[in-house]
């Protein structure tokens, strides 16, 4: 009985399989394969792995198949001033805003968030929100204020984040309690929840990214779960009978209702 072959232990078979050996080594392994059943078996397994993986779906785009939302989010992030690394871009930013209305909406949402944060901070600190700067709009005046210190920013973000969670709870509770087994021949009636989910999705993503950047890990975690639920809900087809139960399982698995309740009652600061 011959000793077990050890050539496969040094990785030569997969290097042969992937064409990584030089000509001589390739020929040597090829010859070895004709007389070693163990190594031939390894090569066969590698071929099976390649064949099995080659027929798997090739995923190269977001689940919706549409890049519009991705491009809008990327634009929104790139327009943050601290990301400008190599050149000023105000003129380009205005052009893009004019040409692509959805980016304008996103930017408006972001500015509203800034205003909400500033209002909150002003109310906490007893300061006047609008300063006397002639010629500036309220939003520009807010933007021109000195940047708040980090704890204040975290508290403000947590406050507006909680308000967003309160708004979103309606759709999450609606989804969680919806009857997913309607009468035969009828799909679930959840058009209202799907519409709400679509309207909340972008803001949720913005809050999640802001929370991640500010180190608010608990808020970011809840926003991430919420975003996933809203994304799946907004993408679901009206007549898809399997979608609602799946989303309900997701809500349950992530404990989203409980997390939103806890955030509302005990706060969400780290």
């Amino acid at each position: 009985m011959s000793a077990p072959c050890t050539i496969q232990d040094d990785g030569s078979i997969e290097l042969y399989f992937y064409g990584e050996l030089d000509e001589n080594a390739q020929a040597s392994v090829r010859a070895h394969l004709t007389r070693c059943r163990d190594c031939a078996q390894v090569l066969e397994e590698l071929q099976v792995i390649r064949a099995a993986l080659s027929i798997r779906p090739d995923i190269s785009a977001p689940a919706s198949g549409d890049w519009t939302a991705f491009m809008a989010r990327l634009d929104a992030v790139l327009q943050q001033p601290r990301l400008v690394a190599f050149a000023p871009r105000p003129a380009v930013a205005r052009t893009v805003l004019t040409r692509r209305p959805f980016i304008g909406l996103l930017a408006t949402a972001a500015l509203l968030a800034v205003v909400a944060i500033s209002v909150f901070m002003a109310s906490r600190g007893g300061r006047t929100l609008i300063t006397d700067q002639p010629g500036l709009t309220p939003v520009e005046q807010v933007a021109s204020r000195e940047a708040p210190v980090e704890p204040e920013m975290q508290a403000a973000l947590a406050a507006v984040g909680l308000r967003h969670l309160e708004r979103s709870k309606l759709v999450v509770l609606g989804l969680a309690t919806k009857d997913s087994t309607p009468a035969p021949g009828q799909g679930p009636d959840w058009a209202y929840e799907r519409e709400l989910a679509r309207s909340l999705l972008n803001d949720t993503r913005i809050y999640r990214q802001a929370a991640e950047q500010r180190g608010l890990t608990r808020l970011a975690g809840v926003m991430r779960d919420l975003e996933l639920v809203l994304l799946q809900t907004s993408m679901a087809e009206a007549g898809d009978r399997a979608a609602l139960p799946q989303i309900q399982r997701l809500i349950h698995k992530r404990g989203l209702v409980e997390k939103m309740d806890v955030a509302g009652t005990t706060g969400i600061l780290p």
């Binding site: 099976v48 099995a52 993986l53 991705f70 491009m71």
Partner: protein, 191 residues
């Protein structure tokens, strides 16, 4: 079609439309890599966004003699590992060499192939096993098997010694072969 290099120059000079065109041209490649690594659309979108933010911030550092796709590829792979690092329990702690070694070499905590083989086809079982590979092995396997990069290119991209890349590939393939064996046994060789 405008060459990539021209677009890079224009984007680096502040031409946002040129950058848009670059993103549109390369986003499917980046997304494919991100999805192969993460197997989750949510994470793949995050990773893809991180990649293009990094590209945007580094346009002026792009070497003229380099291939844009290789450069983006390298950024994508590092973004995958960074993403994993941030979302793993180790990510909460200071990230030393030891922690990095653990992160790169500790299998994901998930059901083994025995529990899953019955439920799906062989390709699905293998894909799930790829997700259980330590991130370092996973990256190397994806780069070699899915993207067809040579080991030397992988080593260059990741800043590793070629021997290390070989060992990571060998370990990854070994685990996939084990999963294959288990799957075949569990499904009675029907997979």
């Amino acid at each position: 079609m405008t060459p990539d290099l021209d677009l890079v120059h224009r984007a680096a000079a502040g031409d946002h439309a040129a950058f848009h065109l670059l993103v549109e041209r390369h986003r499917t490649m980046v997304y494919r890599v991100a999805y192969q690594f993460a197997r989750d659309h949510h994470d793949a979108e995050d990773i893809t966004q991180e990649v293009f933010i990094k590209v945007y911030k580094s346009l002026d550092k792009f070497r003229q003699d380099a291939q844009l796709t290789s450069w983006m590829y390298r950024i994508a792979m590092n973004a995958c590992i960074d993403h994993k690092r941030r979302h793993s329990p180790a990510g909460a702690a200071p990230f030393g060499e030891e922690a990095e070694f653990r992160m790169l070499n500790t299998p994901e905590d998930a059901p083994g192939p025995e529990d899953r083989a019955y439920a799906g086809e062989l390709g699905e079982v293998l894909e799930q096993e790829i997700q259980r590979l330590p991130p370092g092995q996973r990256v190397v396997f994806i780069m070699r098997h899915h993207q067809g990069l040579k080991l030397g290119e992988i080593a260059d991209s990741l800043g590793l010694a070629e021997g290390t890349v070989k060992r990571q590939l060998h370990a990854a393939v070994h685990r996939l072969r084990q999963a294959l064996t288990v799957a075949n046994v569990t499904t009675g060789g029907q997979a």
